[in-house]
């Protein structure tokens, strides 16, 4: 009896220890260097390059006025609520046109010459935002900005020409508004030189050997006390994708990509060879579509566009290529942009079928109705080099459309040509490719559908839609704005201006000892590493 009591006591103790084990282990440890295998960024100046690599590299070193939540702060990977960064608090005037930001006091730049660790002031904010507006390829995001004024040493006021709902999201996007010190530009002409990378972010750029590695060390004076946990991070420049995965397998890197991303196929192969590896799928903001010259025949006829939409067997693609894990309802708002997405299931089924349905018979009928019973030839311009499923997507599109009588001529283009002509709407017939993953719903609606914009790849000019696009931009009440965005999605469902293709998840892979690295869909890397620590 006694023996049994002792034994069960022992078991209970053991169970308690096992239960407590993970809890104990969750206490973050300080120290260690995280190694990342990634391609080389084309430059370091966040305003002179629009590459996500540039912005991810330097996001370790810079802060912004406001930012998105990361790590334990975030509710989900697409949590785009706005939290303080350099600005401690801010107010928005009732008319939505004046933003006043109060800066944290005593935040210091990295201790590197010529800035030498001086305090960040309102002047720096004005200088950086003005520079963004004059230099960045993304500067049209700030088109509504009328004036940026320094009120006092720690207060900045931004005045807009009109209410502009996406404004704070753009300010929080790590691709846009890093706060930079003027002296560095005066000394180095721009922020491309590694010595000119001087910010207020969690890490300090220590050294950069071109083509080899970029070394970052913890910023001892970072304004969030006790963070980051890591001593530093190193980006080991690894241009080849197979080599990036190989160094992860061989324990020579912790992340096989700047955000740890690998494809669904790679995730399965990795799990097979390295079962211990932490591999987590995320539905990420991504989108791909067929775009067409909707201003010219035959695609100016909605029946033809609907026929294209109904011809695609999205479920078949998803099963064959994406292990059934893809999201079929990928547009006009991407699946992962949860706060704004109106799921196809909530739409009138008669309209929703043009987003997710597959009905070749109906497609043929629509073509006949449009006077194209004998079919027609449709050129599809594209760049064949996009990540894996795309190569199959082009072929599947040709095959699916062929079944309803549309003869597809696949027209592969070199990347430079594709991105600087076709992707800017300079093509005939149709084209196909992925969209940049944006954090603001406006970029998927206004930019894609507002007349005359080069990002309006389908050449849409729809007066009723244009009115709604402007209205959602000017609506400062999030609930009312959401209603307009919903209306836009309802309106767009059966227009088939763009025909969306399934979007696959990305897998985030790293060794199990990397803790606290949470995926977030808002570009950048620095803030994801803020809460990352190594359990070894």
């Amino acid at each position: 009896m006694l023996r049994r009591a002792v034994f069960s006591g022992f078991l209970l103790l053991l169970a308690a220890l096992v239960a407590a084990g993970p809890a104990l282990a969750q206490q973050p440890k300080r120290g260690g260097v995280l190694r990342i295998a990634e391609r080389e960024a084309p430059g370091l100046d966040p305003h002179l390059s629009i590459s996500f690599l540039t912005h991810s590299y330097v996001s370790l070193t810079y802060s912004q006025l406001v930012r998105f939540p990361y790590g334990p702060e975030q509710k989900s990977p697409s949590d785009f609520s706005i939290v303080p960064d350099l600005a401690e608090k801010w107010t928005v005037s009732k008319d939505g046109k004046t933003y006043t930001f109060s800066l944290r006091k005593g935040v210091l730049f990295h201790n590197k010459p010529p800035v030498n660790g001086r305090e960040v002031t309102a002047e720096d904010v004005k200088y950086s935002l003005d520079r963004f507006i004059s230099k960045s390829g993304f500067r049209d995001r700030f088109e509504p900005v009328q004036a940026i004024d320094v009120v006092d040493r720690h207060t900045v006021r931004i005045t807009l020409k009109e209410p502009y709902a996406p404004f704070l999201n753009h300010l929080a996007n790590p691709s846009f508004c890093a706060i930079l010190p003027r002296e560095a530009e005066e000394k180095f002409k721009d922020f491309n030189h590694p010595d000119a990378v001087i910010g207020t972010g969690p890490f300090v750029l220590k050294s950069y050997e071109k083509g080899v590695k970029v070394v970052f060390e913890r910023n001892p004076a970072y304004f969030m006390k006790g963070l980051p946990y890591l001593d530093g991070a190193v980006i080991e420049i690894t241009p080849d994708a197979a080599a990036r995965l190989a160094v992860l397998r061989a324990g020579k890197a912790e992340l096989p990509h700047i955000w740890g991303w690998i494809s669904p196929e790679e995730s399965r192969a990795l799990k097979q060879t390295n079962p211990e590896m932490s591999v987590t799928p995320y539905q990420v903001i991504g989108q791909g579509f067929i775009y067409m010259r909707t201003d010219k025949p035959p695609f100016n006829d909605v029946r033809v566009r609907r026929a294209v939409a109904l011809a695609l067997d999205r479920k078949g693609w998803n099963d064959a290529l994406l292990f059934g894990e893809g999201c079929l309802d990928a547009g006009p708002v991407p699946c992962a942009l949860k706060d704004w997405k109106l799921d196809a299931s909530k739409l009138d089924p008669a309209k929703a079928k043009y987003l997710t349905g597959h009905d070749p018979v109906e497609a043929k009928r629509l073509l006949a109705e449009a006077g194209l019973a004998k079919g027609f030839t449709m050129p599809i311009f594209h760049w064949p080099g996009y990540v894996l499923p795309w190569r199959s997507y082009y072929d599947l599109t040709a095959e699916n459309l062929g079944k309803v009588g549309i003869t597809v001529e696949l027209k592969p283009e070199e990347y430079g040509k594709y991105i600087s002509t076709t992707a800017l709407g300079k093509y005939e017939g149709a084209a196909m490719g992925p969209s940049t993953p944006f954090t603001e719903v406006d970029d998927f609606l206004f930019a894609r559908f507002y007349p005359e914009l080069p990002t309006n790849q389908s050449h849409v000019a729809d007066a009723e839609l244009t009115k709604m696009l402007l209205a959602q931009r000017r609506e400062m009440d999030p609930k009312k704005r959401k209603q307009i965005v919903d209306d836009i999605q309802r309106y767009l469902a059966d227009k088939a201006y763009y025909v969306y293709v399934p979007q696959w998840p990305q897998y985030v892979a790293h060794p199990p000892y990397v803790k606290g690295f949470k995926h977030h869909d808002g570009f950048g890397l620095g803030m994801r590493l803020l809460y990352t620590w190594l359990d070894k």
Partner: protein, 314 residues
């Protein structure tokens, strides 16, 4: 000899001029535009115009050419990258030793393997070792070096959780570590280049071995080793050296992929990335420098014939 060298150097000038015009024109003929490529469709017209002005792309084409070539000829200024805005020559000088070391080690590997197997094949013509050697040469010829490189990187990482990819260290910092990093890529590249060397070596040596002076050497009662190594090999090396000279651009071209897979910060990768980014000044200047090097190298190779075969006079 001196006159010959002078004449060759003088001939190099129009060659390089043509190269500069061609590469300049070809870059402009490439579809797409660097300014739009830099902003990838995120910018509207005014931003693009400002960017073009910033890069000097709004000037007439001949002004752009003269500015570029003038800078090189008059000031030795090879221009700046559009993307990083850093001087090209500086970057080239930093990266060139890597590519040079890779090319040198590759040549050593391919020559050592190719010449050895070629000699054995020729001397033991139609024996088992000849057939084995020839099969190996065909095999080396038919395996693409980039395929072999990927296998060498990926398979050990799957089988042994190990991979021959390291973080690059310059030879001057740590020679041993540097050799450890460079040997695997050089071997992969060298093996696939050894095939043609072996085949040329074999046929050239067979040819030489049938010459009268070799027969004379045999009849004088010389041993096999001095006949082959001292008398035959030197003459048989001429086509091999020509082949290496001809393959020089291949070593630079192949370095693009080898450097990318083994993460070596060389010129090949620099050039390739510039090409995909339409970074005109980088592609033009790197091309011109490499063309100048190839022209110079070919001259050196031509001069080396005189050393290998005393009958050749310039």
């Amino acid at each position: 000899m001196k006159r010959y060298i002078l004449r060759r150097v003088a001939l190099a000038i129009p060659t390089l001029f043509l190269v500069s015009v061609m590469v300049f024109a070809l870059m402009r003929f490439m579809p797409g535009d660097v300014a739009t490529r830099m902003v990838e469709g995120h910018a509207y017209a005014p931003t693009l115009q400002a960017l073009r002005h910033d890069l000097g792309l709004d000037r007439p084409v001949h002004v752009q050419y003269l500015d570029w070539i003038g800078g090189i000829v008059l000031r030795g200024d090879f221009g700046k990258s559009y993307w990083t805005r850093q001087p090209i020559l500086e970057e080239f000088v930093r990266r060139f030793p890597v590519t040079l070391e890779l090319a040198f080690l590759t040549i050593v590997v391919s020559v050592v393997l190719g010449v050895l197997v070629g000699i054995v094949s020729a001397v033991r013509q139609d024996s088992v070792s000849d057939y084995v050697g020839r099969i190996l040469a065909i095999l080396a010829l038919s395996i693409p070096y980039f395929g072999l490189a990927v296998l060498v990187v990926v398979l050990p990482s799957i089988w042994f959780k190990w991979t021959p990819v390291w973080s690059y260290v310059p030879f001057t910092t740590d020679p041993l570590e540097n050799l450890k990093i460079m040997l695997v890529p050089a071997f992969v590249f060298g093996v696939t280049r050894a095939g043609p060397v072996m085949r040329i070596m074999r046929s050239a040596l067979l040819d030489v071995l049938r010459q009268d002076y070799i027969r004379t050497a045999w009849s004088k009662g010389l041993a096999e080793r001095p006949i082959i190594l001292r008398h035959a090999l030197k003459n048989a090396m001429i086509p091999v050296i020509s082949l290496i000279g001809l393959q020089m651009p291949l070593y630079i071209g192949g370095s693009v992929i080898i450097e990318s897979i083994f993460r070596l910060p060389g010129v090949g990768l620099f050039f390739f990335e510039a090409l995909t980014r339409l970074d005109y000044p980088v592609v033009q200047s790197v091309n011109l420098i490499i063309a100048a090097l190839v022209v110079g190298l070919n001259l050196l190779i031509d001069l080396s014939y005189a050393f290998l075969d005393p009958r050749i006079r310039y």
